[in-house]
């Protein structure tokens, strides 16, 4: 009996996962995108129905990475939006770059961008990636992601919550 209950819970209800509209109609996010270029890219990629993400660590505190990991759990479930993480930039349609780009990881960020087939959407996640955050103008830091590779979407926050990340991504994809 308990098994049937479990199957019913797994297949018929979706209690745990947050409804889609929480992200798509979430007003309290500050959307900052580079309009026209992003639009053409998304149009090319079938309106972003199925996008593969390569996460690149540009020298973050790992706070952002924790949030990215949370995106895959049952509560946020990033896969239902057709987004998935992949193991190689060659497969990627999107690069999610976290952290201010440190001098040691500058090459990594650059080569990842070069290695990814274009068109490729670059998302800067977290304050560090958007502006440099508290490490701005440090001698060990090159600067925000923008100063190394072109950025299309910025998601501020230190770190941004998974909900924020998903809202921004979905709204900019679906606009």
């Amino acid at each position: 009996m308990s098994k049937i209950k479990l199957l019913k819970y797994l297949f018929l209800n979706s209690n745990l996962t947050e409804p889609e509209n929480n992200y798509k109609k979430n007003k309290d996010v500050d959307l900052e995108t580079i309009g026209t270029e992003l639009k053409t890219i998304i149009k090319k990629l079938y309106n972003g129905r199925s996008l593969r993400i390569r996460a690149v660590d540009g020298g973050s505190t790992n706070a952002e990475e924790m949030e990215l990991i949370a995106l895959g759990n049952a509560y946020y479930d990033i896969e239902r939006f057709g987004l998935s993480f992949v193991a190689s930039p060659r497969h990627a349609d999107m690069l999610w770059v976290t952290g201010p780009v440190t001098r040691n990881l500058e090459r990594a960020v650059k080569t990842t961008y070069e290695a990814a087939p274009h068109p490729c959407i670059v998302v800067a996640i977290g304050d560090g990636a958007c502006t440099g955050g508290i490490w701005k103008d440090s001698y060990a830091v090159v600067g925000p992601v923008e100063s190394v590779i072109p950025v299309h979407i910025k998601i501020p926050g230190d770190p941004p919550s998974p909900k924020q990340i998903l809202s921004v991504i979905l709204q900019s994809l679906r606009n």
């Binding site: 190689s88 930039p89 060659r90 990881l105 090459r107 990594a108 960020v109 080569t111 990842t112 070069e114 290695a115 087939p117 274009h118």
Partner: protein, 663 residues
């Protein structure tokens, strides 16, 4: 008319190869060697054509002539020898062509005059073996073949070659001795009787003596063919010869050994007891497994090919074993199919293995090494040549629709068809054969794919590779010819069998069988066209769905840290899982050696790993025999005390005992 034509062509071929060896002696200038090799090639071509004419004439046998030097031995060509004459000559023709382009590259390492001379004589010996009908001429040809190939192993005069050559000398002459003994028991001392007569003479031999001849023949021909446990010389000697000679040794000489065994089995011996055929099958299967396992872990390019030859000869001998087994349990269909499979696979192996050895010669001339560890990326510099080798590899790994597949396919298919209708012990045997064949097939794919991938693909691991160039026209042509012949054999096997199936094989007890496919389902052409068709379909679909050629070159994904070709997966690493799974058979020794960088600091050390492989079989079997021989000879040496009277008394003793024995 036709008969005379065939006789004339075979004489032409024989005299051609013999005169080629004489011409080679005329002078040291390379133009003379070129002429000699060209004559050799033409002679072999004529020989191949003559055997095709023989198949078309559908005669049982044609007497070519007799020789008074060899005590009136009669030479004739019959169905079995024509099959092998064709295979051998086709390969020789291509290899001789290759040698014209290949030998000048090594004019400093080898004495070209002697190589050409020995090669021509070697070929003459093999041709002689195939057309002789008496033990005496058979053995004469056999010895010419053995001795010339022995000297060819020595040609580069390296210590390693001389060591390998001596091992070869011992094994091949023990083998020749065994063959001689086997023949003399069978013919009761009548060396000048033909094989057909010997068959009648030996029909009243007791089963014990027949068993002795069987054991001697298995040892004699098996040691030449590199069968386990007499194989030790093969992976040492084959790679040491120049590559064109390796191609001949692996592609042709091993086939001559197979021919000798088939000749005895089919036209001299009566139907063998079932138990004896088990022995051939198991020796063959063990050889195949042994060969393929070592081919997988070996890093030396030519040794991989030599082990792969061992594997293929093992498969061929177990096919022969199954054929004899089928004969003994009276399954004519399985017998015919197995013999057909033997012939097809022999031809396929002769072609692809000589092609691969020639390819190895070209690769070594560019990479200046035989080790897989320093190669890689050759396909950048010789794309056309790598394409040819890719075809040969696909043939070698027995995949549809290439020629290596056909023989194994019809053989295994017939086993599955037969297996239901025989007794349970024999079912067990056939299941073992089936399982081992597919196991060996799988691992041979591993070995060949590893070889190709690590030589030709990815980045280059040494500087020499980056200077590699496409080989010259003659070299490419001869490798391409083996590819073309393999593809034709693969796709056209049923039609080729129709042509050569015209004649029929006479087996010892007067039965006749013709080579034919017993099942109508074999259609390699269909499979080939399906595969090609679907690749074309995929190709066109891809261009329909994404038309633009929209690509960019960038270096390999490196996770952000620069990488170079030294970080690629190596040959040793590639075979690691197999080495691990079968370590009990290899007994690899992994040793981690620490050396301190600063003598009194035990924390800063550089480490390197040594991987040693023990030749278990050599240690277990040959080492004790060698020790025993040494012990016996030290005992015998005591007799040798330097006193003349003692020697004379020994001679007298020997004479007296002989007299007593003869009374």
């Amino acid at each position: 008319m036709n008969t005379q034509m065939i006789v004339f062509l075979i004489w032409f071929s024989l005299i051609g190869s013999f005169s080629a060896s004489i011409i080679a002696l005329l002078g040291r200038r390379f133009i003379i060697q070129k002429i000699s090799l060209a004559i050799l090639s033409i002679a072999a071509l004529v020989g191949a054509i003559s055997s095709i004419l023989f198949f078309l004439s559908a005669q049982a046998n044609i007497i070519i002539g007799s020789s008074s030097i060899l005590f009136g031995s009669v030479f004739e060509i019959d169905y079995l020898s024509a099959l092998f004459f064709f295979i051998v000559n086709t390969v020789i023709c291509i290899v001789a062509l290759f040698s014209i382009g290949y030998l000048p590259l090594y004019s400093k390492t080898y004495n070209l005059q002697s190589v050409t001379f020995l090669m021509a004589l070697f070929i003459f010996g093999m041709q002689l073996v195939l057309i002789s009908t008496t033990p005496i001429s058979f053995l004469a040809g056999w010895e010419i073949m053995s001795f010339t190939s022995l000297f060819l192993v020595f040609t580069d005069k390296q210590t390693e070659s001389i060591k390998a050559g001596l091992l070869y000398l011992i094994m091949t002459h023990l083998g020749a001795g065994a063959i001689l003994a086997s023949f003399s028991i069978l013919s009761k001392g009548l060396f000048f009787a033909s094989f057909d007569e010997i068959s009648i003479i030996s029909s009243d031999l007791s089963i014990g003596l027949l068993g002795v001849t069987f054991a001697l023949a298995v040892f004699g021909f098996g040691s030449k063919a590199g069968l386990w446990p007499f194989h030790v010389w093969l992976p040492e000697a084959h790679p040491q010869a120049p590559s064109n000679i390796s191609a001949l040794m692996s592609g042709v000489m091993l086939k001559v050994a197979l021919y000798g065994f088939l000749r005895l089995a089919l036209s001299v011996w009566p139907t063998l007891p079932t138990g004896w055929t088990y022995i051939i099958i198991f020796i063959g299967l063990i050889t195949a497994v042994y060969g393929v396992l070592y081919a997988v872990v070996e890093n030396d390019l030519k040794k991989i090919l030599a082990y792969s030859s061992m594997e293929n000869l093992g498969l061929l001998f177990s096919m022969v074993g199954v054929a004899l087994f089928a004969q003994s349990i009276n399954q004519p269909l399985l017998f015919t199919t197995a013999i057909t499979a033997v012939i097809i696979h022999t031809f396929a192996h002769a072609l692809f293995k000589s092609g691969l050895f020639m390819g190895a010669g070209v690769i070594m001339s560019q990479a200046h090494s035989r080790s897989l560890e320093v190669m890689g990326g050759l396909a950048h510099y010789m794309p056309k040549f790598s394409g040819l080798i890719l075809f040969l590899i696909l043939t070698a790994v027995a995949l549809p629709p290439f020629s290596g597949f056909i023989g194994e396919w019809i053989f295994l298919q017939e086993i599955i068809n037969t297996i239901i209708s025989i007794s349970q012990l024999n079912q067990g045997l056939l299941i073992t054969v089936l399982a081992t064949f597919s196991f060996v097939g799988g691992l041979s794919i591993f070995a060949m794919v590893r070889m190709f991938a690590l030589i030709f693909l990815a980045g280059s691991r040494s500087k020499e590779i980056t200077h590699a160039k496409e080989p010259n026209f003659l070299l490419s042509l001869s490798v391409a010819l083996t590819v073309i012949a393999s593809v034709i054999l693969g796709l056209g096997a049923p039609s080729i069998l129709k042509i050569i199936g015209l004649g029929s094989l006479t087996i010892n007890n007067g039965l006749k069988t013709s080579l034919a496919l017993t099942d109508g389902n074999y259609n390699p052409l269909l499979i080939g066209s399906l595969i090609i068709g679907s690749i074309i379909l995929v190709f066109s679909l891809r261009y329909i769905f994404s038309k633009r050629k929209f690509e960019r070159a960038y270096h390999t994904w490196d996770c952000g840290q620069p990488i170079n070709s030294q970080m690629e997966y190596t040959a040793t690493a590639f075979s690691a899982p197999i080495r691990f799974f079968f370590n009990i058979l290899f007994s690899f020794n992994k040793k981690i050696i620490d050396t301190r960088i600063i003598p009194n600091n035990k924390w800063m050390i550089s480490r390197h790993i040594e991987l040693n492989r023990k030749h278990i079989w050599f240690e277990l079997f040959y080492r004790p025999i060698a020790r025993l021989t040494l012990l016996l000879s030290t005992l015998v040496r005591r007799i040798q005390n330097g006193i003349i009277q003692f020697y004379i008394s020994l001679i007298v003793l020997a004479l007296i005992s002989t007299v007593f024995l003869s009374i």
